[in-house]
């Protein structure tokens, strides 16, 4: 195996210290390394972990594949991603999750962990074969019907109970669909003015409140996907103070930065589910992430082909690209504002998601004996987002033309560079 010396990097943005790699692990020192990387001024973080990625394979390859999505992830500093099951066919059986897992291994740029569906076909009625997916080589430990909410309270209760024995977590897309029939944008002054059917924030909050009660009663683990309102965060805070409930939550970069006013030119690149919220929610979500109420950042990276976005608002599919812009958005919203330091970024973008998903070899400290799984970030290298040049097959970034303040320069997965100097270092042709 090669040995590498990473010279002058600043672990967690703190004092500079050389990092040494041998046999895929961080070690105290290497003599005469095969390779020396000058990382002067770069911030070293444990490789980022994304609990919420749509890789679209199988079935949606016109928008993304495991190959292109893995490349986007590595370029964004990620070393592990969780692939949501709303593919075609749905990842609700051992066969599909194994396929996604194997494709991830073949591409080899990030650890691709398939998320299994909670219910067959995401239809919310009948539990999917969670135990068989857990026992498959893909070792599924996170289940979600993401894109759809497990609306039926009895089905949700059973899912939580059943998952407990698998040591798995149920990740809920919290949306009471009865309250969001035809909903297009956050229900408030902007949607009222634009004549877009409102997405009532209570549709999320009521499910979050219900589910923490179900999880507490079942002694099960609940994860709340893309939490988007101040009140949802308050419910988590309240539940944790009073009950022994094992609940975690994620927030997306776009809910930390963008607000519902983005809809006003009717360009569906800003259409996403849950919708962009008013600034008061955005600010509250930043504080909730800083104080730990919301555990982590997850991208909800949702590639869509041009024709699914270059249309009228109500006909467009919800979702936006996120993998390559997540860390810069976190830097903008959390670091530049003083809400988090880089150690805090490591917590919310790597350590916490790895812990929630039960990954033993990700989100580990940058010290000898741990996996050499890390990313190196230039905190002063600004770049301008162009959807056409992102690694994803789709181009639906809401940040087109926006300058991002920081750049991911190198990413390493268990001692092997997956990204060097901002370029993918792949094991197979991932284009």
């Amino acid at each position: 195996m090669t040995t590498t010396r990473i010279r002058g990097a600043r672990p967690y943005g703190e004092d500079a210290a050389d990092l040494h790699v041998r046999d895929g692990l961080l070690v105290d020192a290497v003599d005469d390394p095969d390779e020396t990387l000058d990382a002067d001024g770069l911030i070293a973080l444990p490789g980022l972990v994304d609990l919420h990625t749509h890789l679209r394979e199988p079935g949606g390859e016109e928008a993304e594949t495991v190959g292109t999505g893995s490349a986007a992830a590595a370029l964004g500093g990620y070393t592990a991603v969780f692939a949501m099951p709303n593919t075609d066919p749905v990842a609700d059986s051992p066969v599909v999750v194994e396929h996604v897992w194997r494709r991830g291994r073949e591409v080899g740029l990030v650890d691709v962990h398939p998320v299994g569906a909670v219910t067959v076909g995401l239809e919310g009625a009948k539990l999917a074969e969670m135990g068989m997916m857990a026992a498959s080589p893909a070792r599924v430990r996170m289940f979600s019907d993401d894109g759809r909410c497990v609306n039926d309270p009895l089905v949700m209760r059973r899912a939580l109970e059943y998952a407990r024995a698998l040591d798995a977590v149920v990740a809920q897309h919290a949306e009471d669909h009865r309250l969001t029939v035809g909903a297009q944008a956050h229900e408030g002054p902007v949607a009222a003015r634009l004549g877009l059917a409102g997405w009532d924030p209570a549709a999320e909050e009521s499910i979050v409140a219900r589910d923490v009660m179900l999880a507490a009663a079942a002694g099960a683990r609940l994860h709340v996907c893309h939490l988007s309102t101040a009140r949802s965060a308050e419910i988590l805070r309240w539940a944790r103070e009073r009950y022994d409930v094992r609940v975690s939550a994620e927030v997306t970069p776009h809910h930390l930065l963008l607000t519902d006013t983005a809809a006003q030119d009717y360009d569906p690149v800003h259409k996403v589910n849950p919708p962009l919220r008013p600034d008061a929610d955005t600010q509250a979500l930043r504080r909730a992430l800083a104080d730990g109420t919301v555990d982590c950042v997850a991208t909800d990276h949702a590639p869509h082909a041009v024709e699914a976005k270059d249309c009228e608002w109500s006909a467009a599919r919800p979702g936006m690209l996120g993998l390559q812009t997540a860390l810069p958005v976190v830097a903008t919203t959390m670091v530049a504002t003083g809400l988090l330091d880089w150690r805090g970024v490591a917590r919310v973008c790597s350590e916490a998601p790895a812990r929630i998903a039960g990954l033993g070899d990700q989100g580990r400290p940058l010290r000898a004996g741990e996996p050499a799984t890390l990313t190196l970030v230039d905190p002063d290298a600004a770049w301008t987002v162009r959807g056409a040049t992102l690694a994803s097959r789709a181009e639906n970034t809401p940040y087109e033309g926006t300058e991002m303040p920081v750049s991911v320069v190198h990413t390493m997965l268990r001692g092997r560079w997956t990204v060097r100097d901002g370029a993918v270092n792949g094991v197979e042709n991932h284009g």
Partner: protein, 334 residues
């Protein structure tokens, strides 16, 4: 992507490039449109042949994704009376029903030589998208300035600006002026593009607007509009409004749980004869049509001299002539 602007490219003195909404329309622009509409009416009065040469050689395409006899015919007549070539495209009569995208359809009509697209679409914002796409592409190869004007003829639950302008024209005729008038707008505000356009335009023209509806038929966020909101029609009528505008209640809303029954709606929000009798003598009753008689408005009220429903239709042609004129006619034609 840039938002289509209504302010650049001033050809006929009021700085209108598209007509996508009344929100954002300046008072001077709105008054100029209404003045031109009055001028059109005068120009046509007494003519044996109702034909002005103003838009000869211009092509106006109505692109309707929803059925609407009155709005489409009104635009078509307006175009014909100004000698424009008018072409009607509807969802049932074109490739639309075969699933062509909105963008491709708009691009095709632009490339085929349309100077103006009059768009009705069930999706809020669809005309804005079309305007943005066409502005980006341009059609300078067709020997024009690369501009296709887009008129919103009703988009989803957003706006219907020409309807609001014809309502304002009718109020001007009946009341003398809109400035200072108190207008009550009654009914399904939540789903009404007419209500949105009227709320903004009437406020811009200096009227006082009261929206009257049950909370279920008002959008969350209506508090930001330049209006007063009320839930009790009788209390509003006691204020002696100068005009009452009744909104349409669509059949699907009656079964959508927004209110208990058509009967209760009629009792609480219908403009019955006794209610109409309490209005000041000069007060006008408007309805964008088609009216559900007996529920929204009593037949005797709809047919009374107070009601301006047929005048609204006539004013609609003049207002749409004015809109086409300001969007399409060069100064040399004026």
């Amino acid at each position: 992507m840039s938002t289509p602007e209504s302010t650049a490219h001033d050809e006929t003195g009021i700085g209108l490039r598209h007509l996508l909404s009344t929100e954002g329309l300046r008072r001077a622009q709105a008054e100029a449109l209404l003045d031109t509409a009055a001028g059109m009416e005068q120009a046509l009065t007494g003519r044996a042949v109702r034909k002005l040469p103003t838009l000869r050689g211009r092509t106006v395409v109505t692109l309707f994704y929803e059925n609407s006899t009155r709005t489409r015919v009104s635009f078509e007549v307006a175009g014909k009376w100004m000698s424009a070539d008018t072409i009607n495209v509807s969802a049932s009569a074109s490739s639309v029903s075969k699933g062509e995208s909105l963008r491709d359809t708009a691009a095709t009509l632009g490339a085929a030589g349309a100077d103006c697209l009059v768009v009705r679409h069930p999706a809020s914002g669809a005309p804005h998208r079309i305007a943005a796409w066409l502005d980006r592409v341009g059609h300078s190869h067709l020997g024009r300035e690369g501009h296709v004007a887009v008129i919103n003829a009703g988009d989803g639950t957003h706006e219907h600006p020409s309807q609001a302008l014809l309502d304002a024209a009718t109020l001007r005729t009946r009341l003398g002026q809109v400035d200072g008038a108190h207008v009550a707008v009654v009914g399904d505000v939540l789903h009404s593009r007419v209500a949105r356009s009227n709320a903004h335009l009437l406020a811009t023209l200096g009227a006082r607007v009261t929206l009257v509806a049950p909370p279920t038929l008002l959008p969350v966020g209506v508090a930001d509009w330049p209006v007063t909101v009320a839930h009790d029609l009788d209390a509003v009528l006691d204020q002696g409004p100068d005009a009452v505008m009744m909104l349409r209640v669509q059949a699907e809303r009656m079964h959508g749980g927004f209110f208990p029954s058509a009967r209760e709606y009629a009792v609480r929000f219908g403009l019955s004869q006794p209610r109409a009798d309490r209005l000041p003598d000069h007060a006008v009753v408007l309805h964008p049509g088609p009216a559900v008689r007996g529920m929204e408005i009593a037949s005797s009220v709809a047919d009374s001299s107070r009601a301006a429903i047929t005048e609204q239709v006539t004013a609609g042609v003049h207002v749409r002539m004015a809109i086409l004129y300001h969007l399409l006619a060069g100064e040399d034609v004026a």
